[in-house]
Symmetry: C2
DNA sequence: AATTACATGTAAGCGGTTACATGATTGT
DNA sequence: ACAATCATGTAACCGCTTACATGTAATT
């Protein structure tokens, strides 16, 4: 039962925004958490319903177009707090890049180099996106959290660093292959 | 349809080992790929059955205790090759650490620091394990791939680098929090 | 009038985890 | 005899993706 991270992400967003509809949360997901976790509306709506049943959120009001406005309850706040303070991250994230890295020696070195090169191009594009986001955040005022740090900046920093590390790894791997052809 | 990475991992292992039973593959998973991808026997046995039906592997022989020995077919080899050469890695891996990082500003800085510290301890332990594995691999002769590189070394290198990066990030995040208390 | 954006849901199917279930062989 | 390991499978449940389905309000 203790993975349930969609729940946690939603509680986090509700804490940050105060109150929001399922639609708002879906959009907020796309804009922010999406770099770290994905979820579509078809997953979010039923989850909000379950969370309402579990008393973690409530329907505060119903607006135009059937819009339901949710807010977090004290129980929800407690659940979020408990997760943040007590959650032990489970085993290594399953990463397709890592799997590709694992299997790469099965290719001959010329092909392996081509794969790494393609991977690099892909990652460079992503890195540029993340860096642009970073710049934008440091120019415009953002959503503030309890400790005054902008919401999501730490995660963005982590993402950028990991991308750079992976790029460096790809470079070194290519260099190594080159020496063994 | 194009995620299917368990299939790919199994084909990769079968290529490396030549032939193996479902049991062997399950054990091999635990020992090697597990740092990158997890799968239990309850997933592997049915998948091998499906792969047999799809002509990617064949039951080469049946040994003692109902042991079925699988080997890869030319079609299987082709499938693996196509994936390695052609697979575009999809969006960012969903990582629990990253989600925690994202939500961390919702805690007050003392608590956030404690969470980061716990995360660090956890990651330091994992890093030590990975480094021990690295040392072991450089001492003992390992499984060799087509290009002469030891199978899985590239992935292990990537894992170690990412772990170090994440540790550095945690240190810097703690330092930042310290300055804001 | 037509299109876009808002807004909410359900259903099918897949991948993955945990637990259940069974039995043979080897080592102590 | 008993335990551990070998060896294979099934069932229930959950999380996630894709697609289906419906309707309202604002914009052009």
């Amino acid at each position: 039962m203790w993975v349930m991270s969609l729940r946690i992400a939603l509680l986090g967003l509700l804490t940050a925004y105060g109150s929001a509809s399922g639609y708002d949360l879906t959009k907020a997901f796309e804009r922010s958490v999406a770099h770290v976790w994905q979820a579509g509306h078809s997953q979010i709506y039923p989850e909000l319903a379950k969370m309402t049943a579990d008393g973690l959120v409530t329907v505060e009001a119903e607006g135009a177009r059937g819009r339901k406005i949710y807010s977090i309850t004290p129980e929800g706040r407690e659940e979020l707090r408990a997760w943040l303070l007590g959650h032990e991250p489970t085993g290594p994230a399953r990463s397709e890049i890592a799997l590709q890295a694992f299997l790469l020696p099965l290719l001959e070195s010329g092909e392996a180099r081509a794969v790494l090169q393609r991977l690099k191009t892909h990652m460079e594009r992503r890195l540029t996106e993340l860096e642009a986001l970073w710049e934008a955040r440091h120019a415009a005022p953002g959503l503030k959290g309890a400790s005054g740090v902008r919401f999501g900046n730490l995660a963005l920093d982590l993402g950028i660093r990991q991308m750079r590390t992976t790029l460096q790894w790809a470079d070194d791997a290519i260099a190594q292959l080159g020496g063994q052809t």
